[in-house]
Assembly symmetry: C2
Homo-oligomer: 120 residues x 2
Amino acid sequence: MSDPLSEAFAALADPTRRDLVARLTGGDATVGQLAAPYQVSVQAISKHLKVLEHAGLVSRDTKGHRSPVHLEAEVFDLMTKWIERYRRRAEARYQRLDAVLAEMNDDEEAGYRPPREERT
Amino acid sequence: MSDPLSEAFAALADPTRRDLVARLTGGDATVGQLAAPYQVSVQAISKHLKVLEHAGLVSRDTKGHRSPVHLEAEVFDLMTKWIERYRRRAEARYQRLDAVLAEMNDDEEAGYRPPREERT
DNA sequence: GTCATTGTCAACCAATCGGTTGAGGACTGG
DNA sequence: CCAGTCCTCAACCGATTGGTTGACAATGAC
C-alpha cells in the first residue's frame, strides 16, 4: 500500500476499526479490553489494531504485553485536510461557479501530472 | 459493504480514485477525459467511477453516453464530521486530559453498545 | 520457579479488489 | 442508414483482506 493517505482511509473503511477508534477516544485500553465486546476472536482484533497502528492512527506503549493502545491525532489531520480541500472546492463550484474560476485555473487543468504522486 | 461511511472511506483509499476526485474539482468531465492521463484501461477507470458513484462522492448526468461526471460535496461532510469528532477528542485527551473527563463520561464507557450500529 | 493470562505469529480459507481482454450497446456525425 | 466513438458488461486472474484455528512467547501472580 505504502502511501499514508491510502492507508489511513483504508484503515477507517472497516466498521470494526472505526468502532475501535471511537472507543479509544474514551481512553487507552488493552487489546483484551478492546476485543471483549466483539464476537470475533482476539486474534482478529489484534490484526485490526495492527492495521490501525500501521496507518498511524493508533500507537502502543510497547512495554511487553498488556500494553495499552492509544489514539494518535496526527493522521486524522492529514485526512481532514485532504477531504476539506476538495469538499470546499466542490461546494464552491456548486454554489458560486464563476467566483472560483480564477483559483481553479491556477493549479488544475494546465499541465496535468499523472497519478504517481498525490496531488497534494 | 452497505454502510455509507465504509463505502466513502474505501472509495478514497485508492490513489487513482483520489486523483479522479481531485481532478473533478476542476470541473465536470467525461469518462474518456478522466481516463486519458492514466495508463490503465478505460474499463478500469469506469470501474473506479462506479465505486465513487456508489459511494455518493460523484454523480452522473445519465443522459446516454459521453455523460459528464461531477463531484458531490455531501458525503465529504459525512467523513469530515466523523474524523473531526474523534480527532478533536484525541487531541483534547492528549493536551488537557482532565479538562475533558466530564465530556467523556457522558457518552462513552457506560453501556457499551456492540459494533453493529455505528457509534454515530 | 511455576503456571495461568495475554497477545502475537503462522497457516489457511472464502470473498473482494484492481486490473485485464473481449464483446456488445447506445449515441453521434456524416 | 451506417460507421465510428464512447462507455459498460462479463468473465477471468492474481493479490489482498478479514476471518478462522493452533501453537507459542512473554509477562505477571503466587
